[in-house]
């Protein structure tokens, strides 16, 4: 009996697997555009050596020369273990051999291209590399099909995988982002409260230090147009700049400034400071809100091939959501404009509440607390 081994094994369980080194992975990145395929495959030199034997002079070291001499054999071995199909097999052709470093050592990098029989439809992948030699080997795959990214870990029991190649139409994509825009303005309470704070006084005019209801709906509509348009223009500018990667601000700063904007806008209803210049407030803080929208858009994942389209869609959605709020709100507050309930209860009381809530947000976001937000 091998006592030694057994006790060594005993500690293995007791301390879990030792972490040194790393089990074998290959990194496979494939981009399928219609019938055209390009890709890169990183395979560890240690794995290639185990399968093919690279250390020709037997000194325990693999040199570039030793690898270079076996490039053809490496490519033949690797591509024999990988099948890509779109309407039939897409024969893979190596275009360049290089090397790269990963956490556990040097990898051979095989760049390749292929042409598939068809330019539409599902893409199937059959991956068999090293599975016969190493039961823990995994293929880490990133597959782009016509701009849509798929990712997968390929194991011996999932060596054949099919990925949907269904093209999402531009129109559908635009619609999806519009929906997200509408949805975000509706669930984004900070944006709504900001807008609300700016809109509450549009049915009133300031006369001799007091409020008076406007005479005609038209006056309010004009004021709304100014405010909403300024807000829209401003946040469209920063949303675009941030989404396209020209500017980026730390999220705590953006979120805190958004909370501050709500505080200021609400405070202005209690102690009027800007009066007819509300559009300027809307514009100034709109710039900040744009960064907030951009982070949402970033979380959704921007399709690189339809950057502008998705940006436009999302922005249109935000405007539509805003418009819906205005359309629902304006008639009601116009109708209520001459009541004390509106001037004291809604305008002052409501603004106080909004201010209070936004102050708590501000404190939370500035100091990373959890006061009311769950």
């Amino acid at each position: 009996m091998r006592w030694r081994q057994l006790l060594v094994c005993f500690w293995l369980v007791l301390c879990g697997p030792v972490l040194a080194h790393k089990a074998s992975d290959s990194y496979l990145v494939i981009d399928v555009q219609g019938a055209q395929v390009s890709g890169q495959w990183d395979i560890a030199l240690r794995d290639i050596d185990f399968a093919l034997g690279l250390d020709t002079d037997g000194n325990g070291e693999i040199t570039w020369g030793e690898l270079r001499a076996r490039h053809d054999a490496v490519a033949a071995w690797a591509f024999n273990a990988l099948t890509l199909e779109r309407g039939g097999a897409c024969p893979l052709q190596v275009t360049q051999h290089q090397v790269d470093e990963h956490t556990d050592g040097t990898y051979a990098v095989l760049k390749f291209i292929a042409t598939c029989p068809t330019s539409t439809g599902d893409v199937a992948l059959d991956y068999r590399l090293l599975f016969d030699l190493d039961g823990l080997h995994r293929g880490l795959l990133r597959l782009d099909i016509d701009g849509l990214t798929h990712s997968s870990v390929i194991a011996p029991d999932s060596r054949r995988q099919t990925f949907s190649g269904e093209r999402v139409s531009r129109w559908t994509q635009l619609q999806q982002f519009m929906e997200q825009g509408v949805w975000h303005i509706w669930i984004g309470f900070d944006h709504i409260l900001f807008l609300l704070s700016l809109l509450l006084p549009v049915v009133l005019v300031r006369v001799n230090g007091g409020w008076r209801g406007v005479d005609r709906m038209g006056e309010s509509v004009r004021e709304v147009l100014w405010v909403v348009t300024s807000f829209t223009v401003a946040h469209s500018i920063t949303l675009s700049l941030a989404a396209l990667g020209f500017i980026s601000l730390p999220s705590w700063l953006v979120e805190s400034a958004i909370a501050l904007s709500v505080v200021v806008a609400a405070f202005n209803n209690i102690v009027p400071m800007f009066n007819r210049l509300r559009w300027l407030v809307a514009f100034g803080f709109g710039l900040i809100h744009g960064f907030g929208f951009a982070s949402v858009l970033a979380e959704l994942g921007l399709p690189q091939d339809a950057l502008v389209l998705s940006l436009v869609g999302f922005n249109l959605g935000v405007e539509a959501g805003q418009l819906a709020i205005v359309v629902a709100l304006l008639p009601v507050i116009y109708w209520l404009r001459n009541t004390a309930f509106y001037r004291r209860g809604v305008l002052v009381g409501g603004s106080l509440l909004i201010m209070l809530l936004a102050s708590v947000w501000l404190a939370e976001r500035l100091f990373d607390l959890k006061l009311i937000t769950t």
Binding site: R4, V8, F10, L14, C15, G16, V18, L19, G60, G135
Partner: protein, 417 residues
């Protein structure tokens, strides 16, 4: 193999760089994309070496050395007789041993591929080996099934008993562990039985009895490897008993045997860190940065001493954990929890990882990291399983018991006790 496959979403959640963690409170599609970019593109700067003589990789074995020769003759033997289970067992066992000695999981993969050629095997040694490989991936249920099957084929196959005992200890099922130890005793495998029993006692609330059992077993153990293992465990048990001088003597005796042993060094480093001697840890672990578990302890010591290497080693660890996560490997969560707690001060992530780990592995050290993380995160509900274990096992280490109490006190909500 099925247990190693997990969802991509889970894999790529929470990629390393702090930037993205601040920006993204939740894991959405964007996070998946970023995770992939990190996993696949972070070092995406392929290059063409300038010279044929540039050394790209150093192999673990030279073509001519003993290990390489032995492996190639074992492989050749298997090629000659591809259905010979004994030859397959021999080769796979050799790979497994190498994985243990060098801490290199690739050898586990090689062993696995050999064993998988015999899915319907009835050979007790091969079944046992399959169980060992399964436990390596934390597939404890599958592993226990294999050991049972092995014992059915050969009731006196001691290895299978020993492994059953080890797994039950990890699962904190001390009654079942005791049965496995009894099995070893019946087979008159005194050293194995003593090691098994001593640990079962120590984990299960009888530190003194456990210590004596291990000490008695040490007196019977002839081989240095057995002595090393027993001395290491004696060091741990002595520390739990509150006898640091004795613990240090055991560790030093183990180290004096002069054999590389990753587990011994890890336990010794933990002892030194607890004793407030990080400089000593740096001295011992400096040459071991390739072993992640030891690199973790080295980075802890260097961070405590504010040494310049600390930042580099922390980054190395972050990269390695990210690489493990990218392949869906969840077997390092206990170490990763410690990394998050002690080196990144991210108690929330630490407590999540420690709790996930504790659902699988329940040894004293797993309980300790869970309790420490829960205290730091003021999340006493997550530490409930560890407190339950402390109560049911009666584990006597004063430090762990203090942690258990502190974690119960840190917040009054969420606990029934």
């Amino acid at each position: 193999m099925a247990n190693t496959k997990i969802g991509v979403e889970e894999m790529y959640c929470n990629p390393q760089p702090l930037l993205w963690r601040n920006l993204l409170p939740q894991c959405g599609g964007f996070c998946v994309l970023m995770g992939l970019l990190l996993a696949l593109n972070v070092q995406a700067a392929p290059r063409t070496p300038a010279s044929d003589t540039e050394v790209l990789e150093k192999l673990p074995t030279r073509a001519g050395d003993n290990t390489a020769r032995e492996l190639s003759s074992l492989r050749a033997a298997l090629v000659q007789a591809p259905t010979d289970e004994a030859k397959a067992t021999e080769l796979a066992t050799r790979y497994f041993d190498l994985a243990m000695a060098r801490g290199d999981p690739r050898y586990i993969g090689y062993a696995d591929a050999v064993v998988q050629r015999f899915p319907a095997t009835r050979s007790a040694p091969l079944l046992t080996l399959r169980g060992m490989l399964r436990q390596y991936r934390h597939d404890f249920a599958g592993a226990l099934g294999d050991f049972d099957a092995a014992l059915k084929q050969n009731p006196s196959h001691a290895d299978a008993y020993a492994w059953r005992g080890a797994i039950f200890l990890v699962k904190a099922d001390y009654a079942a562990a005791q049965q496995a130890c009894d099995g070893l005793q019946r087979l008159e495998r005194d050293v194995l039985a003593g090691g098994c029993l001593g640990l079962t006692q120590a984990y299960g609330g009888q530190l003194d009895a456990g210590y004596q059992t291990l000490q008695k077993t040490l007196d019977q153990a002839g081989f240095p490897d057995n002595q090393l293992w027993l001395l290491t465990r004696l060091g741990e048990v002595a520390a739990w008993r509150g006898q640091p001088a004795q613990a240090e003597a055991h560790y030093r005796a183990a180290l004096a045997l002069g054999r590389d042993d990753v587990y011994l060094l890890a336990a010794w480093a933990d002892f030194l860190l607890d004793a407030g001697q990080p400089a000593e840890v740096v001295k011992w672990l400096q040459p071991w940065e390739s072993a992640d578990g030891l690199l973790l302890r080295l980075a802890e010591a260097e961070t405590a001493l504010k040494l310049p290497d600390a930042a580099r080693h922390r980054q190395m660890l972050a990269d390695r954990f990210a690489a493990a996560r990218a392949r869906g490997d969840t077997t390092h969560r206990a170490e990763e929890a410690r990394f998050e707690l002690r080196l990144r001060q991210d108690a929330k992530t630490a407590v999540r990882l420690a709790a996930e780990n504790y659902a699988v592995q329940r040894e004293p050290r797993d309980a300790r990291i869970l309790l420490e993380a829960a205290i730091a995160a003021q999340d006493n509900a997550s530490a409930q399983p560890a407190r339950d274990w402390l109560r049911s096992s009666g584990f006597e280490d004063a430090r762990t018991r203090r942690l258990g109490q502190a974690s119960g006190d840190s917040a009054k909500t969420g606990s029934t006790r």
